[in-house]
Structures are given as C-alpha cells and as structure tokens.
Amino acid sequence: MENRDACHVLVIGSGGAGIRAAIEASTVGETIIVSKTITGKGGCTVMAEGGYNAVLTSEDSVAAHYEDTIKGGAFLNDPALVEILAREAPDRIRDLFAWGAVFDLTCEDKFAQRSFGGQQIPRTCYAGDHTGHEIVMTLLEKLRGSPVEIRDELTVVDLLKDRNVVFGAIVCNREGELGTITADAVVLATGGAGQIYDMTTNSTAGTGDGYALGYRAGAELIDMEQVQFHPTGVVYPYDTRGRLITEAMRGEGGILLNTKGERFMEKYDPSRMELSTRDVIARSIATEILEGRGTEHGGVWLDVTHLPKEQIEIRLPLMLRQFLQFGIDIRTQPMEVTPTAHHFMGGLRITLETQTTLSHLFAAGEVTGGVHGGNRLGGNALADTQVFGFRAGRAAAAVESVAKRKMDTVQIDATEEKISRLYEGQATSAKIRRLMKQIMWNNVGIYRNEFDLKVAERDIAKLRAMPLVISSPREISDAFITENMLLVASLVIDGALLRRESRGAHTRIDIKASWTNETSPFGHTFFSKTRSGIEILEGRL
C-alpha cells in the first residue's frame, strides 16, 4: 500500500461540523479533512434552508432556548449538551459573520430572526431560504484560507485502532486504491443516514458512515431509533419525492390543509398549529393521509397563497424557483407535501468536549446523539454543527502528539481480504439498497409496532447475510458504504424494539404508556459491540 499520510488531527466529513472542526484544529496542528465528495458539497448543511437558532436579543434567553430544545426533544436530551448548544450558538454565528457570512440583517443592521416550530420567541437567523449554503460558503472561504489539507473523494473504510485508542483511518479513493491516514486524534463529522429510507431529504452522501465506523471501532451509540421525519417533503414528480420543503414556509405563515379544506392542525395542536414541533406535525399529516383525507399522490396541502407575493419572492426565493420548475407557482397554488426521513437525533455518545467512548475519537454534528433528544427543533441543527464542530476541533487538537504508532497490519490485511471476496459475491449494492430502503420505509417509519419491526429485523438480517458483489475496483467504496447503511438500519430497528414507549419522533402504536415524556422511566437506548439496551431511570420507576 503506497498511500500513507500522517497528521495531528484527521477530520472525516466535510459538512458544517467537519469544516468547522478542521478550521479550529488547524490553529494548533497539522490537520487533514477527508470527504467522500468534493469538500462542502456532500453534507446536508449545504442543503439546509431555514436557519440557525441563536439567542441574540434581550427578550430571548439561554434558559428559554434550553427549555424549548428539551421540551421539543421530549426530555430525552442530555441537559448539559443542550446548555452548551444554547450558550455557545450566539458566539459561533458571530464567528461566521466575522468570516464574511451574508446573513439577512434587519434595517437596524442586526441579525434578522424568524419563528420556527417549538420556539417561545423568534430565534432563527437566516440567509433567505439557503442558510446552510451560506454557512458552507463562508466556511469554505475560511477553510481555503487555512492550512488545512483537503482530501476530496476519499471514502473512509474503517478507523485504525491500537487497543482502545483510535489513531487514524483506512481510506479508499475513487479508483479503489487503499491508503492510510494516521493521526493523533480523529473527528467524526459524517452526518446522518436518511438514505437508508426510500423517501429522504438527505443528500446522496447521507449514508450514516460515521455511525458504522464508530460502532465497528467499538464506540457506543445512543437513541438510534429517533429518526425525525420532516413533515413537509415533496410528493411528486416521483423522482423528486422526499425533497425538503423548508419549515420557513410555515415560519412565514404557511398553513396545512387536508383535501376537505380543513386546517387540520386545529385538531392536533390548537395552540401552536403549524408551528408545532416536527414530530407532532409529521404524525398529524400521516394520520390525515391514513384516514383518507390525503391527495391522490398521497400528501396534504401546504398553502402560502394568502401571503403577499413579495414576501414569498424575498424570503423563499429558492422554494419559489424549485416549484416553478415543476410547473407550480406557490404564490397562487398550494404544494402537495408528505413527511420524509430527515434527521437522526441519535448517534455517537459524546461528552461536553465531544469525546466519544473511545480514546482520541471525537464527534460532532448529526453523527452524535444526545443534543436533540427525541426530536430536533428546526434551526438547531446548523447551530449544533458550529457549536460542537468548534468544540470537537479544539478538543481533538488538544490531544497530545504521540510517537509514531505501529501500523496494525492485521486491520489492513482484513480489509484487503474483504475486498477480494467482493469479486465473488452475489448481490449488487444497487439491489441491496433498493430493498433496504423499502423495508425501512414500510416497517420502520413514523408509526411503528413490534410485528413490523420484527419483520424488518429479519429482512435486514437477510440482506446483511447476502454477499455483496463488485466487478471493478471503482465499486469498492460503494460496497463498503452499503454495508454501513445496513448496519445503521439494523441499529435503528434494535432501538425501535428496545424503546417500548412513544417518545419524540419514535411512535409505538402497539404500546400504551401511563407516563409523559417528562416522567418516562426510560433514558437513552444504547448500542455497542459489547452491550445494548435501554437506560432505566430508577428514580422514576
């Protein structure tokens, strides 16, 4: 193997959290950022539309942001992580602004803020309806001016480990050549895994590699059953199904209607209506559709036609243009929407310093669990990437440099051995993924029950047992990613079976519980190679 590299900090993933971590780490030591796409393009940050939550006015408070987040998260969040999120989000958005971010400002030249679901006061900063794109462009400018070494289109196959210490990664390039990058510390910032579902807002790169890399290396994950279904995804044309329609649509005043013309949120959450939390709205829409009040394409109506045309043109230009492409003018016509797999609240268990349960392995952003509990508030994900990306970069850089570790040839030999077996496999990645996406969508969606979950468990296990096949080295990365996706799918199912209650985004229709989110005796579900289960809060039993 010829491609060997070494650095102080290796960052895996190039969305908002990864780039932020790399920028921070590079102020201390040599840093490499690895992306399986072109840096900045692959993560979901660049696609984020609505905004970034930060407490910036005297009417708002860190305590209020904390309270909204915990409440929205069904009290499953790690309180200390939430505290950090609320406290540091303002500083991190100020960093972005100092680095050139083009956020919308009010006429008084202050950050403009709008309402998102589950907020007591408008707290969501934005750049039109392409806030994530703006953040990534700002971060890219900063990154290009930093000493960080950028490695594009390199897939991480596995983490390198020496006993319990992570010290780098095995990588695979576009041509299928293996290589290694050793590092004193590694940051995982690989985002979520919406791609395990048939309908998702996620980019093609949202395959949950970090969950799988961490798990295989021995790290512990939590709450993997908590998959947020964004209430408003595109219904058709068929090939665009699942694409995100921003929450800003509702933030700006959009309303939801069923085919009888009823504003149905009156039934489910009369006080918050369309600005209820995402879990509640997604379930409400799903119920309307299940009970026969959905459109012929299987959606409900999201309507902004009552808003001034100018407001739509200025605040939602991207959405306006996107729908015009499909022949729908949202200024005069309603949109058809349906819930779509969006955000993984679960992930690697981290400390306040973003340390995972493995030494020298840090994590930030959607790949982690605990910050958002059972349901993430709109606008908290972008804040999460910056707050914890910064912390991960700083903490990883603080790891002491060690003398050169000895390369574990066993790990590399095993990878090469695995690759050689791929040429004799049976099932293509394309086929396995198609089947997996259907299983997950049909059996592990918004409404869950034990029977469907068991079926899914069996069927995913069958897929995992099928040997994957490739015909050329260029397909190696794809095969490894397919394996990652199957592993993540099985963790989601495990969690959904373990959590015998409805909590946050996870709804078990076969179980009636006598407790509320706040009094539930259950804590996190947890998964590692050595143990899995659900935490019982003794005091509440």
Partner: protein, 479 residues
C-alpha cells in the same frame, strides 16, 4: 428512453466515446435519475458526481446536448446526449476542477471584526446577495470563450472578487487581484449567465463593477482610456475621418408609397462613422416596406463601450442627450441595427420610448419578402442580440424567407466584444479562430450578422464575406 452517454476510462481510452443505453424511468425523471438507472442496470462503474439532488450543491453539472446543466434539475428527454463539462476529464462525466477552485479567492477578515459589526449593513448584505448564490458547479467555466483561449480566470472567480470587493470585512485589494486574473479579458458575451443555474449576472454585477473600480484608480487599459477620451470629446467612439452618415442624410426619410408606420433610427458610432453603407441600406429596406424613418441629428454614442469597460463617468450625459434627441423627434419606437447599442438602450437606459432591433421590428410589422438570393448563408448570433436582447428567431425567419440555402450554426462569441478587441487583440483573434472553425463546418459562402463589431471581426478571422442583414435584404429587393 434512449440516451447517449460520453464515456471515458483513463486506463483504456485515449479519447471519449459515446455509448447508447435504453432505460426506463418514471415520467418527469431528471437526467440524474437516468444516470442512476444506467449505473444500477447496465454499468456500476459509470462515473458521475451527485450529492444533494436538489440543485443546491453543484456537484452534478454536466452537458446535455451541448448545454451545461445540473443533472438533478434537468428533465431527461429521449435521445439526450450526456457529456462531461468542458474541463480536464478524469473518468466518464467526472472532471478535474482543482485548478479552478484554486483561483477562487477567500475573504481575509480584518482582525478587529471578530468583536464588532465591522460596518456591514443591511444594504451591504443586499448588494452582495446576488453574487453569493453561486453553487460552484463550474458550468460557467465550461462555457466561457475567454477562459478557453486566454489567461482569464473564469466568470465565477470574477464574481467572487466583486463579492469580496463589496465586503467591508475583507481587507485585501481585490481590484489588483481581479486585473491580474484577467478582468479585462471578458468579452461580455453573457454565456455564463445563460448557463448559470442561479442566473447570476456576472458580466454586469461583477465584471463591469470591478472595471469601474479599476477606472477610478486609473487602472483601465490604455486603449479603453483612449476610447473614453474620444467619446467625451466628440460624443462618438469612432474618429471622424470623412463625412459621417448623420452629416449627409436628411432628418426624415419618406417611404415608397403609403406610410404604414414611423420609426426613429438610433444609428450608433460604427454605422455613423465607419460602415455607412449598411445604414443607408437599412433605410432603403424601410422605404420598401412603407415605413417612415426619423433620424435625429443630435444623437450620440450610446455609451456601451464606456459601460463595458468601466469608464462610465460620462454615460449619464450621453443617456440624457440621446433620450432628449428621440423624445424631441416625437417617436414612440426607435430601432437599432447594432446589437451592442440595442442591448445598451434596452438594459442600461430607462427610455420613454420603445427600442427594437431591426429584425424584431420588421418581423412584428411584417415585411415584403425580398426576391430569392443565390448562395449558402449562415447566421452569426451577436451576443448582445442573442443574450442581451433575447433575439434569435427573427433574423432566421427573415433569412429563411429569401436566401437560397440557409445553414444554421450554434451561437458562440466571436471575440469582438467587451473591449477585448481593442484591449487584447490576440485573445480576440483566438476566440475568432474558434468561431471561424464553426463557420467552416457549416459550408456557408456568406455570413450574415447584425452587429458591426462582429461583422468586422468575422471578416478578418474567417476571410469570408460578412453581410449586414439589411444589406442582404436590399440586394433581394433590387433584384
């Protein structure tokens, strides 16, 4: 659906080759869905990039039937030819963009700005916004005629220079940097705007603005400054060598027969001072079609050469004089036969009268078909007519009505615009050479166009006779 995909394997192929695939996709499927299908059903090694699948990340830019598009937002059609962008090829549809990325400037934040508002206002933000939507798909790079033959550092690099120039948080000198990266090499052909998925108007919102800043610092090209001096002194961008058109034509030219309509004639410097005959021919064409032509004598240069080169101090006065001239003449429609003048009057002016290109007007009011003319003709779209005014059908309609054989030719800048011909003649010649090859491929004996700058330049680079459309029409009428 049948699609053709340009394949290239660096290990096996010297040059790309096209393969044909028969795929089944749902209605409304995008090109990206077709590529997915080809990869999943026929060849898992098909190389292409994609990420967000929603037109936001810019990964999947490719060419479909020669035109740069995002695969995820372009609807797939039967028979599509799918190729990579015109950048160094890596494999199949994957291209090497590292050289381009390396030229995109980054903001150098002032140290103090970490704690203060750094002077960024609501207005600053609104001004930068249109330049900020770039998703770095590099479609503009693939299509830029200047980038292909010169040191021009591509449209999106200029966009970024102006974005930084506008930002008080940035401390670096972006004007010097933009000049070093080829600021004056843009021909203002607007091809980059046409192919941009976000329709960012880089020539107007970045290149011209940066050139204005350069002018303020005295950094304009000498040839451009000379031109600006001439306009300020004489009201014209062409030196007077003999009697000009305006000096010997009457103010009003009556048509043959009944008067169907009256129109003002905005002559433009080239037709006034250098190629008078074409302008005289145009008047004759209008006479044959029953249209009275009014020619106010106090009209001056439209200001286009100044606006394109950033030396626009004198432009407000030119605008005032021109608008007054035609308002006093009492016309409600003014025609141009210079693509640059027409585009400038339509886009940079706010005129109380309508401005129409000669072909646009003739097709609208109807024209007497000229007698058939022998020979094979092709038409060169002037950039300032095609993209500046959105006119491409009318000239073709006219030509098809009376030339013996018309061979169509795809549009491509000839290299004469944006002050490039005077500033960088070598670059203009190189772009012209590309255009000459395209002309040769049509097998035409004559080129027809509606821009005196294109006409002049094409004659030189192709060696073929280049005719103004009015001249050719008149030939038909006189037969």
């Amino acid at each position: 659906m049948i699609v053709r995909i340009s394949r290239f394997d660096p290990d096996k192929d010297a040059v790309p080759h096209v393969e044909t695939y028969d795929v089944h996709v749902a209605s409304g499927a995008h090109v990206l869905n077709v590529l997915d299908m080809v990869r999943d059903k026929f060849d898992p090694t098909l190389g292409y990039r994609c990420c967000c699948r929603a037109g936001q990340c810019g990964s999947c830019a490719i060419r479909v039937n020669g035109k740069p598009v995002l695969a995820c937002t372009e609807e797939a059609r039967d028979g599509d030819l799918i190729e990579s962008l015109e950048l160094p090829s890596i494999q199949d549809l994957i291209t090497d963009v590292t050289q381009v990325v390396a030229q995109i400037a980054w903001l150098n934040p002032r140290a103090a700005s970490l704690s203060c508002g750094c002077g960024v206002t609501h207005e600053t933000i609104e001004e930068i916004k249109p330049l900020r939507e770039c998703i770095e798909c590099y479609s503009c790079v693939s299509s830029c005629p200047a980038y292909a033959v010169s040191e021009y550092a591509v449209p999106t690099v200029m966009r970024q220079e102006q974005r930084l120039n506008l930002d008080p948080r940035d401390v670096d000198d972006r004007i010097g940097e933009a000049i070093a990266r080829g600021l004056f090499a843009c021909t203002s052909c607007h091809k980059c705007v046409e192919v941009c998925p976000k329709k960012i108007d880089i020539p107007r919102k970045a290149v011209e603005k940066l050139r204005i800043e350069a002018a303020k610092r005295g950094l304009s090209l000498p040839a451009h400054m000379e031109l600006a001096r001439l306009v300020e002194e004489t009201g014209r961008s062409i030196e007077r060598k003999s009697t000009s058109f305006l000096e010997y034509v009457p103010d009003v030219i009556e048509p043959e027969g009944e008067v169907r309509a009256t129109i003002g004639f905005f002559v433009g410097c080239m037709f006034n001072g250098r190629v008078n005959q074409s302008a005289l021919d145009a008047i004759e064409v209008f006479r044959k079609n029953g249209i009275r032509v009014l020619i106010p004598k106090d009209q001056v240069c439209c200001g286009s050469p100044l606006i394109r080169t950033g030396l626009s101090n004198f432009v407000p006065e030119l605008m005032q004089r021109n608008i007054a001239a035609f308002v006093n003449a009492g016309v409600d429609t003014v025609f141009t036969m210079c693509a640059g003048c027409g585009s400038t009057l339509k886009k940079d002016y706010d005129t109380p009268f309508r401005v129409a290109d000669i072909t646009e007007y003739l097709c609208e009011v109807g024209f007497v078909p000229p007698t058939k003319i022998a020979g094979t003709y092709t038409y060169h779209d002037p950039c300032h007519l095609l993209r500046g005014q959105g006119i491409s059908k009318q000239p073709r309609e006219l030509l098809r009505s009376f030339v013996e054989k018309f061979v169509d030719m795809p549009a491509h800048c000839c290299g004469a615009g944006g002050g490039v011909k005077s500033g960088f003649p070598d670059e203009a010649a190189s772009i012209g050479a590309v255009r000459a090859e395209m002309v040769a491929a049509t097998g035409a004996d004559f080129i027809v166009t509606i821009c005196p700058f294109c006409e002049y330049h094409l004659r030189r680079v192709t060696g073929l006779p280049v005719k103004n459309i009015a001249t050719l029409m008149l030939e038909g009428y006189l037969k």
